[in-house]
Amino acid sequence: MTEALMFSIVIFVLAIFLGVELISKVPPLLHTPLMSGSNAISGITLVGSLIAAGEGHGGLSVYLGTIAVIFATINVVGGFLVTDRMLGMFKKDKKTESKTGTP
């Protein structure tokens, strides 16, 4: 096993634990935006897609890469935009003096 691979595995495991810590604190209220937002982040595969599509050797790998760029871009752009649209709808009750009874 190469040193670089070992290092990558270390990062992977630590990032999973970090993810668990971060996500456990998100209230159910925000689970849908969390999901679409994290979904957009998983579109990071776009980075790999760009390299595959841009290598300039032509042929199958570039075509596959281009399709990957389209897929991943929809994932990223659609994901972040729809999350923003959703989060824009969440508003706090302004009439704090009203008798809504929230503690």
Partner: protein
């Protein structure tokens, strides 16, 4: 190692981590999403300046088509359709991972064995995510029947498929010249995605979407191993963990194990499991009765179920709640974790109808308050308020956490018909003396109630 690029990817990763952290509170969530987008933009720019990129023609074509489609989808999608949108995006992310890994093999067939193993895993996980998500999308969108499609030896077949794929993958990694081995893994993985999702019923989709969310993250992380790119590994791992947590939360809220959701085919039988139960009658009340009851109440808790969203009655409900609040009634909403078709879905649907989020309370926050509440108003919900989950040991619902509607002083249930819920279990609550059943379309009934309360 390209030091500036590595450093920039690290900064992008930090943005993703902060973004997820800020998504944890409604006040900062929008900023969190923006942080995620900034991290992504940074990663893209750094990649485009990479020396490996020679020709940007195809990149630009891909980015333009993808952005246009992404913008259109994000702008036009209905909030009720969010689950299928997320399923679709999951699938595209998984598909991209598969394509990148496959392209990498075509480009460099003689890679070291650890890269080849990563390629196999990336192709496999990505392809399962891709077809699995497309099936989930088709079921939620109504393109396909939502009911489970069962086939014999389901577990065994899927297990066999996984075993064969791993075997083929190992053979491939040992001898990457055998290109057809990777192609077979790809085809089997595409088939496995279909086979694992078709037996799952529509109402179990929150679990499936969460799980596919996790897969799409893992697919991204394995692609990171293929390209030795840490930003992919980190963000993939974060998303993988996020999906897993949501999956486990959903399973707990339905009191089912993941295996039960994936393999049991719940919801395949039409009609209740215990059809021999004695026919009992409920008293039908009119909207006028319900209005009188609501007007005299000091405190009301509203329990919205998916039936509310199906009837598109969120806005009318909000109107009714506002009239009650103006009269001085305390009004709050109790949200069960599985209300809706994905985690947190009901909150988004109510937020869209301008319900302030501080009135939306989680089950644990509000369950003890039902006993001091005059009226619990249940709209289009059934299983999540069924007391059988607490008492009836042989019920499929037994053990599932429910909202304590039966402890409220009285209950009003708006429902289309007396049909049992998804679990096929008769609901004792509907026959209780303190329960007022009002049948009909939720939107029509609520509109009627608004008129009556207004007077």
């Amino acid at each position: 190692m390209n030091v500036p690029a590595t450093f920039a990817y690290l900064v992008a990763s930090v943005f993703f981590i902060l973004g997820l952290k800020f998504l944890g509170s409604p006040r900062t969530a929008r900023r969190g999403n923006l942080f995620g987008a900034i991290g992504m933009l940074l990663a893209i720019i750094v990649t485009l300046t990479d020396q490996k990129i020679i020709d940007t023609t195809y990149i630009i074509v891909g980015l333009v088509i993808g952005s246009a489609a992404g913008i259109i989808i994000a702008r036009t999608v209905q909030m009720t359709a969010m689950p299928q949108m997320v399923a679709l995006l999951n699938g595209l992310g998984g598909g991209a991972s598969t394509l990148v890994a496959y392209a990498e093999y075509i480009r460099m067939p003689e890679s070291p064995i650890d890269v080849l193993i990563s390629i196999v895993l990336s192709v496999l996980i990505g392809a399962v995510t891709f077809t699995g998500s497309l099936i989930a999308w088709a079921k939620l969108q109504g393109v396909m029947r939502g009911a489970p499609i069962l086939y014999p030896y389901q577990k065994q077949l899927n297990g066999l498929a996984v075993g064969v794929m791993l075997l083929l993958g190992i053979l491939f990694a040992l001898d990457p010249g055998q290109w057809y081995l990777l192609l077979l893994v790809l085809l089997l993985a595409l088939a496995l995605g279909v086979m694992t999702v078709i037996p799952i019923g529509g109402a179990d989709m929150p679990v499936v979407i969460s799980l596919l969310n996790s897969y799409s993250g893992l697919a991204g992380a394995t692609t990171g191993f293929v390209l030795s790119n840490n930003v992919l590994i980190i963000s993939g791992a974060l998303v993988g963990a996020s999906g897993l947590i949501l999956t486990s939360i959903m399973c707990k809220a339905m009191n089912r194990s993941l295996a039960n959701v994936l393999f049991a085919g719940v919801g395949s039988e039409i009609g209740p499991a215990n059809a021999e139960t004695v026919q009992r009658t409920v008293i039908r009340y009119t909207p006028e009765d319900a209005a009188t009851m609501l007007e005299s109440a000091q405190s009301v808790i509203i329990i919205p179920g998916y039936g509310l969203a199906v009837a598109q009655a969120q806005h009318v409900l909000h109107e009714l709640a506002n009239f009650l609040i103006q009269r001085g009634t305390q009004v709050r909403y109790a949200i069960h974790p599985v209300a809706g078709r994905m985690p947190g879905h009901m909150n988004v649907l109510l937020a869209e109808a301008n319900v302030p989020y501080d009135l939306l309370l989680e089950m644990d926050q509000i369950n003890d308050d039902f006993q001091n509440t005059d009226v619990a108003l249940v709209i289009g919900a059934n299983d999540v308020v069924n007391p059988a989950a607490r008492s009836k040991k042989d019920s499929p619902l037994y053990g599932m956490p429910i909202l304590n509607v039966d402890q409220a002083r009285s209950a009003i249930v708006l429902k289309r018909s007396l049909n049992p819920g998804f679990a096929g279990e008769d609901n004792e609550l509907f026959y209780e003396k303190k329960t007022m059943m009002v049948f009909g379309d939720a939107k029509a009934t609520l509109t009627n109630l608004v008129q009556l309360v207004k007077q």
